[in-house]
């Protein structure tokens, strides 16, 4: 029983570590196709460094997970949380505080945004 509990604890501790080690891989396979490896986007896809415009805004935390590309990515909650912690820090220069957890991401991604660009405008205008 003790050994089983210990194994369970070890696995639980190892899971986020594994998700963290896969962030770049997950980014390339699930984001970079459209946003490109350096995040610069194209004439039809938003550039990720523009995430800076929303940095520090209390609404941004929810918004970034509810963007359809993130919410509907074929990734587990733990891996999406790790990916978004890495991605927000990479493109805004500041890591989310507190860091996203699998539970929080799992809750937020259930409601993907229908019109992310309109929502972004609203957040920027403070409404």
């Amino acid at each position: 029983m003790k050994a089983g509990l210990l194994t369970l604890l070890c696995c639980a501790a190892a899971l986020p570590a594994r998700a963290d080690s896969l962030v770049e891989h997950d980014y390339i396979l699930n984001c970079a196709g459209c946003h490109r490896i350096d995040g610069s986007g194209s004439s039809t896809v938003p550039a990720l460094p523009n995430m800076r415009d929303l940095a520090g805004n209390p609404e941004a935390r929810t918004y970034w997970i509810r963007i359809p590309g993130a919410a509907q990515a074929p990734l587990s909650n733990a891996r999406l949380a790790a990916l978004m912690n890495w991605l927000v820090e990479r493109f805004t220069g500041t890591a989310p505080a507190p860091r996203y957890t699998a539970e929080e991401v799992g809750r937020l991604r259930r409601k993907p945004l229908r019109d992310p660009l309109a929502r972004r405008e609203k957040i920027l205008r403070g409404r």
Partner: protein, 179 residues
């Protein structure tokens, strides 16, 4: 000069006396048919299989102009290698799309999985040569950014699809699909 003429005349007459016309025809026919049949021999095919191609991979899996090339495991389209370009570069007159569909393929030379970016070349009408449709690890259309059935000619001047490349991005930490 007359000595050369005489020599040739002698040779010709001698061969005409010794060899029948049919004899010559049969030999010549044998060379023609034999030469054409040579690549069909198992020896020739074995040589093809053992040829070391791109990325140090043997046989068809190492040939960027074939669907069996290892990087083409998730491709759906015409190979730029057959259309005046290569598996890394677009044919003249086309532009590489910055927006692309990305998958992973296993390199048989080292057994590792690699991330492959299938950038489309756009701007001329579709090439029509070397159509390949392997789709390993492709997602359904509702995961459109992991699907290859749609036109990835986006962010380019022209949306006309011509052919596809297979650019190696880096070693994959995990083969698709993700766990």
């Amino acid at each position: 000069m007359s000595r050369l003429d005489r020599w040739f005349e002698g040779m010709t007459r001698q061969s005409a006396r010794r060899l029948s016309r049919r004899h010559w025809l049969s030999r010549f026919g044998g060379v023609l048919v034999g030469g054409a049949a040579l690549p069909l021999l198992p020896v020739a095919r074995a040589a093809d299989e053992n040829m070391v191609g791109a990325d140090g991979v043997r046989g068809r899996e190492g040939d960027p102009a074939r669907c069996e090339y290892w990087r083409h495991c998730a491709i759906d389209g015409f190979l730029c290698s057959c259309c005046g370009g290569s598996h890394l570069a677009c044919p003249p007159g086309t532009e590489m799309s910055p927006v692309t569909w990305i998958g992973t393929c296993r390199n048989p030379a080292d057994g590792k999985d690699y991330i492959i970016s299938y950038n489309d070349c756009c701007g001329r009408t579709f090439c029509g040569r070397c159509m390949c449709n392997r789709n390993e690890g492709e997602r359904p259309l509702y995961h459109w950014y992991r699907n290859n059935d749609l036109n990835w000619c986006s962010g380019t001047k022209s949306q006309t699809y011509s052919c596809s490349t297979a650019v190696l991005v880096k070693v994959a930490d995990e083969a698709q699909p993700e766990k």
